[in-house]
Each structure stands twice: as structure tokens, then as C-alpha cells.
């Protein structure tokens, strides 16, 4: 058994790790991921709270707040509702950090360019803010990402090229920097404005109304079918498998898949917040699949606490506290799950089973679809209730999934425990007869 385990580890290391690593270390994916996590998520979470207050789960409360609903929604609309605007800043800023250039200038410029791209070229005094608001939020994410990347790359290119304004060395650095940015800023503004003017000389039919076309409306026509494809069972399955394969070789899977899928998740979630019925969103994974951390390893922690293996008991004790907050690196690297061909099987199988169950539960409407984003560290039980905007069946679903996880993990846990106990006994016996070679517990 141990022999097989070591041989397959080598195989993973040679054939599975390199392509996954290449994908994971892509600089654009990292920048988009950071932009979502660092720049937009706090605003989205805070804004969500207002959404819950505006739509309380209990009828008598709903009646109470309904006259003030429009007012309570204002902070939601101007935080959660403007996520694409902040995302444009975040993508440009994060990418500049990875490119090791000054990040604030491209960040601010990307926001301006995003606004220019989202507002039709018209007499702005007659424009209703409500008409463009959706495109500054959930429906403008793709435009925001493209503009963020473009801004940083163009500014970086100009900084290194001869088409930049150069000042004598005696001029203070900050002054030089402002002048350096002038030409790319002006050119980018000209480009996006020109493009938008051309685009908005056409009209489009949105929800049965003829409106002036804008770049977000145009791109949404292309993006919408993709969003629909992503919000499906095969896509959910592909995403969870990729996440868990990455974790199986010890790479942060959620982190990498978020970078690819976040634009879709947040578009779907924003549409849920305004009455849509999308399923495959960020909470679908973080809150409903990764119970106790990626791989739904909560039950393993409980098993480990009373294990016959000293290694597993040690890991179990350390893993208990973090597990409450859905952090499971102690489990992943301590059991270990990563690069352990035996434990990798349930490590992929459990989340896949849970995702399958949950997808159909949400699809048939047994539990309200997720509408609220919260930090992934919110403990199990509470998080399911909050994510669904106050559906207690959300918590019950989490506990049902937990039982499924406990059941599937059990036989694998026992088998792994037997291997470890045998190794530990072996080691202590060898120590007893004082074999001078140092013995350490081999990890798969």
C-alpha cells in the first residue's frame, strides 16, 4: 500500500503539478483574483447587509420596512451595486503591483475609463442614473476587467518607451511621475471615449426598450450566454473538480478557480440580488460546499480527535479551532490530504457529491438560492441561513451535506489510520531495539 502511494505521488508531481502550476501562476488571473478579494469583496459584503435589512425574511418585518425599502437600498446600490467600478480600480492596481510599477495612477485612471465606457455619449444632464446603474455593477464586470488590464499595460509600456515626457533630473520625482502619466492618460481617454461614441451612435433593445448602446451593454450580449453556461451543473462540476485537483497537489484551489470564475459568479449573484434564480455563485462553493474548509473536511477533524494514530490526534487538536472558521490547512497538509493518493479520492469525491446534491436542491427550489456574500470564515449553520437571505433550510442543507461528508470520509479515514498506526508502531519498535538510524513518520 505504502509503495503504491509513493509511486503515485511521484506521478502527480511529474504530470499533474506542472500544468496546474502554470495556470495558477498566470499574472492576469492573479490580478483579477486579488481585485475581487481585496478591493470589491469588503464592499460587497457590507452592502449585502443592507440588502438583508431591506428584504427581511419574516413577513411582519417585511411589512414594517416596505415604506423605507428604497432608502435602505441606497447604501446597497452604491456599494454592491457599483462593484464593477471598484473592480476596474482593483484590477489595474493589482496588476501594476505584479508588474512592479506605480499602482495608484493606473487604478484611478481605470475607474475614469470605466465610467467613460459605461455612460452613453449624450447630454449627460438628461441621463437618469438608474438607467446606467446596472452596468456599473453586476453587468459591467467584464468591461471593468478588460479596462483594468489595458490601463496598466498601456501605462507600463509608455513608461518604458520614448513616447514619454522627460524632465530634467532636478525636478522632484512626484512631478516627473505626473508628467510621465500625461500622454498615456490622454490617449487612453481619447481611445475609450471615441470607441464609446461610436458604439453609442447605435441603439439596442434591452428588456423591450430601445436604449443607446454602450460598451457594457454590447459586451453583455457576448457575455450573457457564457454566464448562462457557467450557471449549470456541468460547469459547477468542472469547477469543483479543478478546485479539488489543485488542492490535491497542495495548491490553493479555491484561489485559482476564483480568478477564472469570479466574473461569472458575481454577475449571477448580482442578478440573484434583484430577483434572479442563479445557482453557481461564490457562496455555492464557499458556504455550501467547503464545510470546514476546502474538501468539506469538518468530519475528519472530529474523527482525528479520537484517532489511534498519534499523528492524526496531534493534527486533529490543531485543526479543530481553524475548522470552526472553515480554515483547513492543518488538515490538508497534516493528515495529509495533499499528494496522498488514498485521501485524495474522498477529497475530490466528497465535494463533488455535495455540489451535486446542492445543485439539484437549489434547482428545484427546495432552498432559496444564495443572494448574500459573507466572509468564508462565518461558521457552518449561521452562514447557510445568511447566504440564502434568511432561509433556515439553508442551514439544514449544510448539516445534511455534513452528514454525507462524514459517511464518505469514514472508510478512507480508517484505512489511512491503519497505515499510520502501523508506521508508528514500526517506528517505536525500531527505537526500542535502538537502531541508530533516525526514523521519522513518512508522509505519503
Amino acid at each position: 500500500m505504502s509503495g503504491i502511494i509513493e509511486r503515485s505521488s511521484d506521478w502527480f508531481e511529474r504530470y499533474l503539478v506542472p500544468p496546474l502550476s502554470t495556470l495558477a501562476s498566470n499574472i492576469y488571473l492573479q490580478a483579477v483574483r486579488d481585485a475581487f478579494i481585496i478591493f470589491t469583496l469588503p464592499l460587497i459584503i457590507a452592502g449585502s447587509l443592507f440588502l438583508i435589512v431591506a428584504n427581511p425574511p419574516f413577513p411582519f418585518l417585511a411589512d414594517l420596512v416596505s415604506p423605507y425599502q428604497y432608502a435602505i437600498l441606497v447604501p446597497f446600490q452604491l456599494s454592491f451595486g457599483l462593484m464593477a467600478l471598484f473592480l476596474a480600480f482593483g484590477v489595474a492596481y493589482s496588476l501594476a503591483q505584479y508588474r512592479r510599477t506605480e499602482p495608484v495612477q493606473p487604478g484611478v485612471l481605470a475607474m475614469v475609463l470605466f465610467l467613460v465606457a459605461s455612460v452613453p455619449v449624450t447630454d449627460l444632464t438628461t441621463l437618469r442614473i438608474g438607467d446606467i446603474l446596472p452596468y456599473l455593477g453586476g453587468q459591467g464586470l467584464l468591461v471593468a476587467i478588460l479596462i483594468g488590464i489595458m490601463t496598466t499595460e498601456v501605462m507600463r509600456w509608455f513608461r518604458g518607451s520614448r513616447f514619454t515626457i522627460r524632465l530634467p533630473k532636478s525636478v522632484p520625482k512626484n512631478v516627473t511621475r505626473a508628467f510621465e502619466a500625461l500622454i498615456p492618460t490622454f490617449l487612453l481617454l481619447l481611445l475609450v471615449w471615441g470607441l464609446e461614441w461610436f458604439v453609442s451612435s447605435h441603439t439596442a433593445s434591452v428588456d423591450g426598450k430601445d436604449v443607446q448602446l454602450t460598451l457594457p451593454i454590447l459586451l453583455m450580449q457576448v457575455f450573457k450566454p457564457l454566464v448562462a453556461v457557467q450557471d449549470s451543473y456541468p460547469a459547477a462540476l468542472a469547477e469543483i473538480v479543478l478546485m479539488m485537483l489543485l488542492w490535491s497537489v497542495g495548491i490553493h484551489g479555491m484561489n485559482i478557480v476564483t480568478a477564472i470564475a469570479a466574473p461569472f459568479w458575481f454577475t449571477t449573484l448580482a442578478s440573484n440580488a434583484t430577483g434572479g434564480h442563479g445557482i453557481v455563485t461564490e457562496p455555492f462553493f464557499h458556504i455550501f460546499a467547503h464545510l470546514g474548509g476546502s474538501g468539506a473536511t469538518w468530519p475528519l477533524v472530529i474523527y482525528m480527535l479520537r484517532s489511534r494514530s498519534a499523528q492524526l490526534r496531534t493534527v486533529g487538536k490543531i485543526a479543530l479551532g481553524p475548522a470552526i472558521f472553515n480554515i483547513n490547512e492543518p488538515v490538508t497538509f497534516g493528515v495529509p490530504m495533499a499528494l496522498n493518493p488514498l485521501m485524495m479520492i474522498p477529497f475530490v469525491l466528497v465535494p463533488v457529491t455535495i455540489v451535486t446534491i446542492n445543485y439539484f436542491v437549489f434547482a428545484v427550489g427546495l432552498v432559496h438560492v444564495p443572494i448574500v456574500i459573507q466572509p468564508f470564515t462565518v461558521p457552518l449553520g449561521i452562514s447557510g441561513f445568511v447566504a440564502t437571505g434568511g432561509d433556515i433550510k439553508g442551514s439544514l442543507l449544510q448539516f445534511f451535506d455534513l452528514a454525507v461528508s462524514a459517511l464518505i470520509y469514514y472508510p478512507f479515514f480508517r484505512a489511512w489510520e491503519r497505515i499510520l498506526v502501523a508506521r508508528e508502531e514500526d517506528a517505536s519498535q525500531r527505537e526500542a531495539v535502538e537502531v541508530p538510524t533516525p526514523v521519522k513518520v513518512e508522509l505519503g
Binding site: I37, G250, I251, T314, I318, E329, V331, F333, G334, P336
Partner: protein
């Protein structure tokens, strides 16, 4: 004083290790500063640290981190996955001490 920079993904689990390292440092009477930053944030801080450590879950970034760290002459290493899992601050601190060039180690007692 020893300044350690740990590069990780979101800093959630690494913060537990940081606490454990600080406790170990106090026990051994080392003056220690540990900062856990994501792969996007650490870039600017590399020059202002003595040792760079890489958390196991971002090993796919190992090469690029090693390249950057060695370009500014900082020692860099992966944290042992099992030490990371068990939040073994003492073992990681020992790893840091092994990585440090001798003069830095002597310098820290003076500060």
C-alpha cells in the same frame, strides 16, 4: 532583530503560524517581526526583510518568488508542509535561523 516575510495566499491560516512563531521567538529571546502577505502584496516588502518563506499552498509561485528574493540577495525557502499544518512555530523559527547569514544573526543581539 529578524524580519521574516511569509508569502501565502490570503493570510488566514498563516496568521496562526505567525502567532506560534512569535511565541517561540519570545521563548528563545529573539527579536522577531513576521509579516504574512499575499503573492500580490509581498513584492514591495522583499527588500525590507531578512528571510522570505513560502507557504506550501502557493508552491506554484515558488520559482518566481525565489527569483525575486535572490535578485535582492534574500534567503528564501518553502515551509515544510507538516510544520505548516501543525502550526509548529518553533520548527519554522529554527528554519529561519538556519537560513540567516551569520552576520545578521550576530547583528540582532546588538539591536
Amino acid at each position: 532583530m529578524i524580519r521574516v516575510l511569509i508569502v501565502c495566499s490570503w493570510g488566514m491560516s498563516t496568521s496562526l503560524l505567525v502567532d506560534s512563531m512569535l511565541a517561540a521567538a519570545q521563548e528563545y529571546q529573539y527579536e522577531l517581526i513576521v509579516e504574512a502577505l499575499s503573492a500580490g502584496e509581498y513584492l514591495e516588502k522583499v527588500e525590507a526583510c531578512d528571510v522570505v518563506l513560502i507557504a506550501p499552498q502557493i508552491r506554484h509561485l515558488r520559482k518566481s518568488i525565489e527569483k525575486l528574493a535572490s535578485s535582492v540577495g534574500k534567503p528564501v525557502a518553502m515551509i515544510e508542509p507538516f510544520h505548516y499544518a501543525t502550526m509548529n512555530g518553533r520548527a519554522v523559527l529554527e528554519q529561519v535561523l538556519r537560513l540567516l547569514p551569520r552576520n545578521t544573526q550576530e547583528g540582532k543581539t546588538a539591536t
